[in-house]
């Protein structure tokens, strides 16, 4: 049952995930955290962090990780959990695979038609909204703690958020290096 759910969920994500890895994040988050409860917000953020630090696309990484964790949390062993991650990854890749072959065979010439361009006129701003939503949904207690609960951790979290934003957006510091700095800050200040 959980395998069918994983397949269906990640197939949908693959089918509707416009805008590359980041554009997909709000879809993945919505399905895995809010709809199915396979992951907590903190776990989801950890996966994004790990995806940044390991090679490969974020989409594949989250599918593989979610597949494993979801089956494992349902009480199955290592073999079944591995199968879960294979199912999720396969389901995510399948729509791309079919669609790209179909397009390569016959629709290449339709990609530049006004109709397709018009659809993207609406879709592109929509994907920006999806990405903004992914950010908003991650601004929560699990990732930042809260002023009432732990003012020290909350202040450090906000400072790290601002520093990373400024560092990557304006100063163009490598994201992996920024994660390294944040990990060090966490180790020293939040142990």
């Amino acid at each position: 049952m959980i395998f069918l759910q994983l397949f269906y969920t990640f197939f949908l994500i693959g089918l509707f995930g416009f805008g590359g890895g980041y554009g997909m994040l709000s879809l993945i988050q919505n399905e895995t955290v809010h709809v199915h409860g396979w992951l907590s917000t903190a776990e989801f953020t950890n996966i994004v962090a790990i995806s940044q630090m390991t090679p490969g696309p974020v989409g594949i990484n989250s599918a593989t990780y979610c597949g494993y964790t979801a089956v494992n949390n349902a009480g199955y062993g290592m073999m079944m959990s591995t199968l879960g991650s294979a199912v999720a990854t396969f389901a995510l890749v399948l729509p791309s695979f079919i669609m790209m072959i179909v397009i390569a065979r016959m629709f290449m010439k339709y990609m530049n038609t006004p109709t397709v361009q018009h659809i993207f006129l609406g879709l592109r701003p929509g994907v920006v909204g999806l990405l903004a939503a992914a950010t908003l949904m991650l601004l929560d207690k699990e990732n930042f703690s809260s002023w009432a609960e732990n003012p020290w951790q909350f202040s450090i979290s906000v400072a790290l958020f601002v520093a990373t934003f400024v560092g990557t957006y304006w100063l163009h510091i490598n994201p992996i290096r920024m994660i390294g700095y944040a990990a060090f800050a966490g180790l020293v200040l939040l142990y």
Partner: protein, 179 residues
């Protein structure tokens, strides 16, 4: 020309050694496919990138499937797709197996307490980069704002936003744009 095993190993290497997700892979795929092996002409490659970007799904996988299919048909597509997905799959599987135990170590937990807010910023930053490249202006900025608020505030499924904005663009372009 390209053999199946060469296709597989080329994309396996690309999948295994590129940090930072799909777009970081792009120049490396281009180097191998266009400059090194001369499988595809540069102009053709740019077309493939445009199509892979417009389609839903993982960008790197889309591009890999496309290149594989163009070179060696369905089997070629299978080789390139498997090749580019397999390294991440294996690495993350290994991490998933052991992360639960590792996360129980206090110093790892502390590190991730610092990492998580930083990662949220890493997702916030490309929102603005993407807004620039999607030509968001005062006249259409309501679309991303409304989409984000619907998903975040009212828990609307992002899939509906994708469908609605695509349909909206189609209707707008077909019936309103000439006036």
């Amino acid at each position: 020309m390209s053999s199946y095993s060469l296709l597989f190993t080329t994309f396996f290497k690309i999948g295994a050694f590129t940090l930072g997700g799909g777009y970081a892979m792009l120049p490396i795929i281009e180097e191998d496919v266009v400059d090194k092996y001369h499988w595809i002409k540069k102009e053709e490659f740019i077309d493939y990138v445009a199509v892979a970007q417009s389609c839903p799904g993982v960008f790197a996988i889309n591009l890999a499937t496309f290149v594989g299919y163009k070179l060696k048909g369905k089997k070629g597509a299978l080789c390139t797709t498997l090749g580019s997905a397999l390294p991440s799959f294996l690495i993350i599987l290994a991490i998933a197996m052991f992360l639960h135990h590792i996360m129980e170590w206090h110093w790892v937990e502390a590190m991730f307490r610092g990492i998580r807010p930083a990662v949220v910023a890493l997702i916030a930053a490309p929102t603005f980069t993407l807004a620039k490249s999607a030509h968001i202006t005062l006249s259409n900025c309501w679309i991303p704002i409304a989409s984000a608020l619907l998903i975040w505030g009212l828990h609307v499924n992002p899939i509906w936003i994708i469908i609605a904005t695509g349909l909206g663009g189609y209707v707008y372009g077909k019936y309103l744009i000439n006036e």
